[in-house]
Amino acid sequence: MGSGEGVMSVESSNAGVDQENVREKVRKAVFRLMHDDRKIPDPKNLSEKSGVSEDLINQMYPTIEDLAVDITDVLDANLAPQYEAFPEPGDLQDMLAELIEIRINLYEETAFVRTYGEVSEHMFPKIREKRAIRDGLFRARIFDMLQPHFGQKTDDMAAQVEALVSWEFWRHMRNIQRLSEEKTRRIIGNLLQQVVRAP
């Protein structure tokens, strides 16, 4: 699992370089606080961790939700290619195998930040909305992929496939059952094959 450092930075224009550098310090401090110190970030501990004054933090992020939204936006922008990756149309089994590959690679790379993103989703409506939009787009693509193969049964099949390649299912295998990455890939692949064979 990655440390999240690689997906936390953002490309800046010249005019906003200073401000963006400060924002990045604060964003990184959030993850250090949550991961290393297991603390809920607030302006005081963020200031201590980032070296940015409490006043400036409050000015840039009037609420903790604003900070969570900023972090989510940066992550989403940096991870856009991974989120948008999707199998090319072709043989159903090949597409499903590729889908598993793409999604598990995404989860393995981003587990660190997504795990903590769950806390934001629990607390902040704006983060839940963003996640819902992204998941809705993914659902539509799964539907399009399966529709030629399952006709009227596509709704049911798409729901099952979406669930089996979801973050929540992956998280259960890796964090709760503590399975290896390899075993997780094998079990999810096996389940998908069983599900698409069943109808």
């Binding site: 949550m34 297991r38 603390k39 809920i40 607030d42 795990t115 903590y116 769950e118 806390v119 629990h122 607390m123 996640r131 819902a132 998941d135 659902r139 049911d156 729901a159 099952q160 979406e162 669930a163 089996l164 979801s166 973050w167 929540e168 299912f169 998280r171 259960h172 295998m173 709760i176 059952q177 399975l179 075993k183 079990i187 096996n190 389940l191 069983q194 599900v195 064979r197 069943a198």
Partner: protein, 198 residues
């Protein structure tokens, strides 16, 4: 003697009011409780709160105990031994009932588990208990492939799966149960091992 009894009663009531305030903040207001927010919510001083709960992990531990007592029967309910298809069907119904009843606490555990060791420990213990029950249930049907089958059934009937189906896909309870059963049926109908118990 009476003074002692009254003192104990008062202490218990303060302890319960702190615990309930933490629960209210976390479940209703979706805020992770901190010492500051508890001071605000209860009207007690930080020192008073810390006298009952020295750390936030102690508050979480108390909430875990309350939740465990409230949902123990639902959480431990497992199908009676019988034909595999029937047991898996019943298992999906039982887990759905438990997750629906305990959803607020489960969401809370998901958020708190990242910061509070006692929550993470409690989740690990409960998961292991469920895994052991599944193993016992499925072993007569799958013999040598029981481990693999338990991993799949646990995965499909897990809280994380339920949360995805209900919270992300926004399925109704009936739809989510039907989907769970459908995947379980697909898994059970594709087993190479002889199903001795049937």
């Amino acid at each position: 003697m009476r003074i002692n009894r009254d003192k104990t009663r008062l202490e218990n009531s303060v302890r319960i009011s702190i615990r309930d305030a933490a629960l209210c903040l976390a479940a209703k207001d979706r805020v992770i409780p901190t010492l500051d927010s508890l001071v605000q919510e209860t009207g007690l001083s930080a020192a008073q709160i810390e006298a009952y709960y020295p750390t936030m992990d102690d508050v979480a531990n108390e909430i875990s105990k309350v939740a465990e007592a409230m949902f123990l029967d639902l959480e431990d309910a497992m199908p009676s031994p019988g034909p595999l298809a029937q047991m898996l069907d019943e298992l999906a119904d039982l887990r759905a009932r438990y997750y629906e009843a305990a959803a607020d606490f489960k969401h809370l555990g998901d958020a708190g588990g990242h910061f509070l060791p006692s929550v993470a420990t409690s989740v690990a213990i409960r998961s292991a208990r469920y895994r052991a029950s599944l193993h016992e249930l499925l072993e007569p049907h799958f013999l040598l492939s029981t481990d693999d089958m338990v991993a799949k059934v646990e995965f499909i009937t897990s809280w994380e799966s339920w949360r995805h189906l209900r919270g992300l896909q926004r399925l109704s309870v009936d739809q989510a149960v039907a989907l769970m059963k459908s995947i379980l049926t697909a898994v059970a109908s594709d087993v190479d091992q002889p199903v001795l118990a049937e």
